[in-house]
């Protein structure tokens, strides 16, 4: 028996000595996780189809992505995400093999190899005056032997050799407020013309020697009435623009040397043209477009300089740039909107009436209107010209149309997610189950035998492929019903385009999508944008007859005081259930911890006038709210003035129209930070839904430490005003970081600590009774991560059993946020190698499982780090008892274990946020990381202790049982035989 215990102990030691990393095997990729790559809303597109084996289209997007897409299938050949400040101004193709990008306001020019996306050269074009910028690549123009790229940016014109990026010449053209808008290359001369506007009222034309950059001639002319908007170039010597009132069209003739203006009143064009017109940025042959009276007017300029209206179309028309055909003709494309369809028209430049092509394509209403169209031509079998069109829709999705059909589409709206919320799937009802028919026992066993072969590494490549296929196609994980473990959920995401998507956590597919009408541009809402998503209704008791829903809050314009918009969307069906246009603005949405009888959550919406509005607007909600009025607190942080305030609800608003759902607020407390020494850079609060399992922590020496767990804690970080900028802009002596832990009910500062010689950016996450934050230490010139843990001292007496028996404990005393408990804080700092973009923490259903921090690193990976590494009780030499408790010896820096990268060998390009959702299974948490790419995975911070892993080999278990049973019978037979022999003896 002794020996058995020893063997058992040995076994335990072997099992427990394994390090708790999340390691996965390479063949498990895509099994628990999915990864989707996007590019964002396309701004520019250049086709590369001539003489190319692989036809592709080069695009640049609003997410600062430059990418090469396969024109046949829409897949990404290569893609580069530039820095967050490196906005792409223009792209083009030079030499037939380099993609040229101009970015950062015309200061950075890069060339990328067309086949593989390798950067070939990079030039920095430094100028002094900020201006608009453009890129122009002339065909058949060489300086010396070099092909050349012309760049205008920062008030200077540059000629850059396209082979190696050398600046051949640079010419400063305009002073403050000037913008060159076009370069014109007359054939057969060494002269280029650069024309543009200076200030608001002057037209300038420059003649420049191509070879040297020498300015040959500069002519300018002032237009006293002033210009508005940009120039639209009609021919090589006529440009159109509008005067400052928008009611007079000005034709600028700038033939060699002379500039002249010809004015035409907009109302002369037709009777129904009145009001201010806006010049649209089009590049059409001999034509320009104006927006008047919510419609687009196309105006042709005849050879004699007369203006002639050719057509008037609806405002939702997208126009492409003109395209040169081989015969010297120019064509352009138009996309018009119909209900549930779009009409693509391709017209010849000089003949409006006839269409080269007109196609009607069915298009989902939830894609909105077409925003951009790019056309390209190909030679048909009968050597006529065929056309394909790349269309960018309102929801940022991308389509390729050819021969009246959608060849491919990309959901690139998902590259700009602003908020995420998880929602449950419907409960599986009896009778509608589709499960349990796909497997019979034999197949089940076969699958497990294959898996066993895989684990024993005796599988052939064919077997491995079969295993992979089996794993990826497991129908179990992508079913549309709830599962026991809570792994299957819907991720409701809100994108910048104002579209809601529901993604299935099993395989990442889009279950439904909805373009919210309330977040679309309209008369009353000029620049709508979504703010946040909130759980509106999450039925538990009425789970079979009520569908869950989410609240989408948004505002109409960029300014904070613009009116808000609210929508309630059913998460099962994806239908908008209710839409509200409140008259007030929305600065913040506070979900309250109360629900009404149909389990709708109460929400408090704050406006700029510090009034609070209660939703839903029902008397029942109002009753609940009035009952709990005294328990509702919130805080506000005024970053500009450095003031922190606590608020509570006072009484009904005094308005002209009585509104019983509107409340005035009062200030409870305020903390004014000295503006000369501290500036708020980060705040963090606990997630309201977080579950905490235990209030106490038993240390190795049998001491009990009570966690100070309050939902009203706020972490605040401030830095010296000088240190707000990036690293390198401040010395350690004049920089400091101050962190606070503040109770938001009383305004009491529980903890304050100064990190001298440190600066932001600060990323912080608050969970249970601890906060972890990441900042930069200038003295060591390394990043640091610090942890603060808060413990409640006032409950320490409770562990005295004698007192408990005598009833002299304070366990029954009510816990109130107004009490001022004695707290102690413990803190420790560690070095960390990488910059961190975002911080998150795992969350589980009951809060029993130990926590892991999720660090979104600068390399766009997500690293999981055990909270045990961030334990302020770590010491250099922990005692035996402390080691048993799980305290790791103190090291100065935090370890980076490559196997604990959640994203393994993948990158979530442009990472912006990480969301964790608890699964029903206590050990497991769902992680969703989003940026330009999306990544989803399941994490088990302490391994899956409550279920068998999906890799568990049932076959091996069966084999073992069979082996043991046979062994029993064999030994039985042996012993029988032996007994018989004994008896015969």
């Amino acid at each position: 028996m002794n020996m058995a215990i020893r063997v058992f102990l040995l076994l335990l030691i072997i099992l427990s000595s394994t390090y708790p990393t999340l390691c996965i095997y390479e063949d498990q990729v895509g099994h628990l996780d999915w990864h989707q790559q996007y590019i964002g809303k396309v701004k520019h597109a250049v086709f590369h189809t001539q003489k190319a084996a692989r036809k592709r289209v080069i695009v640049s997007t609003e997410e600062n992505v430059v990418a090469s897409l396969d024109l046949r299938r829409g897949e990404i050949f290569w893609r580069h995400v530039l820095g967050p400040n490196d906005v792409i101004d223009a792209i083009d193709i030079a030499l037939g093999k380099y993609v040229i990008t101009l970015s950062s306001g015309g200061t950075i020019l890069r060339a990328w190899n067309l086949p593989d996306g390798q950067m070939m050269w990079e030039s920095t074009l430094s100028g002094s005056t900020p201006s608009k910028s453009f890129l122009s690549i002339p065909t058949n123009l060489k300086i010396g032997k070099d092909d050349v790229v012309f760049v205008y940016g920062s008030g200077c014109l540059y000629a850059v050799a396209s082979i190696d990026g050398e600046v051949i010449w640079k010419k400063e053209l305009t002073s403050e407020g000037g913008n060159i808008q076009q370069l014109i290359y007359p054939d057969g001369t060494d002269i280029i013309y650069a024309v543009g506007l200076v200030g608001l009222a002057q037209f300038d034309a420059y003649q420049i020697n191509v070879k040297t950059g020498e300015l040959l001639k500069h002519s300018s002319m002032v237009f006293p009435a002033g210009f508005s908007g940009d120039l639209s170039f009609i021919t090589s010597d006529i440009a159109m623009t509008l005067d400052s009132t928008g009611s007079v069209l000005v034709a600028v003739h700038f033939q060699v040397g002379a500039i002249s203006f010809h004015q035409t009143h907009v109302s002369e064009l037709g009777r129904d043209f009145s009001g201010a017109a806006v010049m649209l940025p089009t590049k059409l042959p001999g034509m320009f477009a104006l927006e008047i009276n919510k419609s687009i007017v196309f105006i042709k300029v005849t050879n004699e300089g007369k203006l002639e209206v050719v057509d008037t179309l609806g405002r939702s028309t997208a126009v492409s740039e003109s395209l040169y055909l081989s015969e010297g003709q120019q064509v352009f494309g138009l996309v018009q909107q119909g209900y549930g369809k779009i009409i693509l028209t391709v017209k010849l430049g000089n003949d409006w009436r006839s269409n080269l092509l007109q196609e009607t394509i069915q298009m989902d209403y939830h894609r909105g209107i077409a925003h951009k169209v790019f056309i390209n031509t190909y030679a048909r079998m009968d050597s006529s010209n065929g056309f394909r069109a790349l269309i960018v829709m309102e929801d940022h999705s991308l389509f390729l149309l050819q021969q009246g059909e959608i060849v491919w589409s990309r959901e690139d709206g998902l590259a700009s997610i602003t908020d995420v919320i998880a929602s449950e799937l419907p409960v599986e009802k009896d009778g509608v189950s589709v499960a349990k028919v796909e497997h019979n026992l034999f197949e089940w066993l076969k699958g497990h035998l294959l898996k066993l072969k895989g684990t024993l590494m005796i599988a052939t490549p064919d077997d491995i492929a079969a295993i992979q296929k089996m794993r990826l196609q497991s129908t179990e994980k992508s079913k549309m019903t709830r599962d026991h473990n809570g792994f299957r959920k819907l991720l409701i995401v809100l994108t910048r385009a104002g579209k809601l998507f529901a993604l299935h956590t099993g395989d990442g597919r889009i279950v439904w999508s909805l373009l919210l009408d309330s977040l679309r541009k309209s008369e009353t809402c000029q620049n709508p944008r979504g703010l946040s998503l909130h759980q509106w209704q999450d039925p538990h008791h009425h789970v079979l007859d009520e569908n869950p829903s989410v609240l989408v809050a948004g505002r109409c314009d960029l300014s904070i005081d613009s009116p808000g918009v609210l929508s309630i969307v059913d998460t099962y069906t994806g239908q908008e259930r209710n839409r509200m246009r409140p008259a007030h603005s929305i600065t913040r949405v506070i979900p309250l911890p109360f629900t009404d009888s149909v389990e709708q959550r109460l929400h408090l919406l704050l406006d700029v006038n510090l009034q609070a509005h209660l939703y839903p607007r029902t008397t029942e909600a109002l009753d609940i709210f009035l009952r709990e009025l005294g328990n509702i607190y919130w805080y506000s942080a005024d970053v500009d003035r450095g003031i922190l305030k606590g608020h509570a609800v006072q009484n009904n608003c005094i308005l002209e129209i009585a509104d019983s759902y509107c409340f005035d607020t009062r200030d409870l407390w305020s903390i004014v930070l000295p503006s000369e020494s501290e500036k708020i850079v980060a705040t963090a609060t606990r997630n309201l839904n977080e579950a905490v399992h235990t209030q106490a922590k038993v240390t190795s020496d049998q001491e009990v430490m009570y966690k100070y767990i309050s939902k009203n804690l706020l972490f605040l970080a401030t830095v010296a005003p000088k240190a707000v900028g990036p690293i390198g802009s401040v010395t350690p002596e004049e920089s400091w970081l101050v962190v606070y832990v503040i109770d938001t009910v009383t305004g009491r500062i529980l903890h304050r600590m100064t990190h001298h010689g440190s600066q932001g950016p600060v990323q912080a996450v608050f969970s249970e009774n601890w906060v972890v934050y990441h900042y930069f230490n200038l003295k060591a010139h390394r990043y640091e991560i610090s942890v603060i843990e808060i413990y409640d001292q006032s409950r320490l007496d409770n562990k005295d059993i004698l007192k408990l028996l005598l009833g002299k404990h304070n366990l029954t005393s009510p816990i109130t946020a107004y009490s001022r408990p004695e707290v102690i804080t413990k803190s420790q700092s560690y070095f960390f190698t990488h910059s961190v973009k975002t911080l998150a923490v795992t969350s589980t259903a009951k809060g029993i499982t130990s926590k892991q921090l999720l660090l979104g690193t600068i390399g766009d990976q997500v690293l999981a780090l055990d909270k045990r590494f961030l334990d302020p009780r770590r010491t250099i030499n922990p005692t035996q008892a402390e080691k048993e408790e799980g305290i790791i010896p103190l090291t100065d820096s935090l370890p980076i274990i490559p196997q604990s990268y959640v994203t393994h060998a993948l990158k979530v390009e442009g990472l912006r946020g990480i969301t964790t959702v608890p699964a029903k299974l206590e050990s497991t948490t769902l992680v969703f990381a989003y940026g330009v790419d999306l990544f989803f995975s399941r994490l088990a911070p302490s391994r899956t202790y409550d279920s068998l892993t999906e890799d568990f080999s049932y076959a091996l278990l069966l084999i073992t049982i069979v082996a043991l049973v046979t062994a029993i019978f064999v030994t039985w037979i042996w012993s029988e035989k032996k007994e018989l022999q004994e008896k015969w003896r």
Binding site: M119, S126, I727, S835, L964, A967
Partner: protein, 203 residues
Amino acid sequence: MGGVPCNHTLIFLSLILFILPSALAISSENVEGYSINGRVKFPGSVIGPGLPPKISDVKVILNGGQRVTFLRPDGYFSFHNVPAGTHLIEVAAIGYFFSPVRVDVSARNPGKVQAALTENRRVLSELVLEPLREEQYYEIREPFSIMSIVKSPMGLMVGFMVIVMFLMPKLVDAEEMKRAQEEMRNQGTPSLANFLGGAQRTS
């Protein structure tokens, strides 16, 4: 992916940069700031074609994302218009662990490189960044071996049984065994058949 026609330019470019030895330096350009030029080198990489294919996906990041640049085919990178001060350069490359580098750009003596790895405080004489180690993101499957089976819970179960069956009797004294057997015989033999039969009856 690397197209054949571009190889010539690769060689051409690398030759140019070979000839220019002063490429690794902080050089002053104009009043606005200075330039940081450097190079990322992967183990076993040679100048010219035949580089690891990952090089096009490597990013070089200045000051925690303030600026991002990419590597040229020969591994060189540069940041222009950087103000004087102490900066941080990070290299993001999947599969490799790079230490961030502290770079001092001094206004007093431009042209001098002052760079040090922040992880191990090693001073770099020139700005050539090499990975400290390769990163293996996946657990490597152990090749099939008897030990792996023996170590698995099932194997341990079987092993334990084997120990009990074959080793335990040996540990017990032979004399004692005989005595026990005799005792058993006196009490009647509780054979396995009876035992199993009994179990079946009760269940």
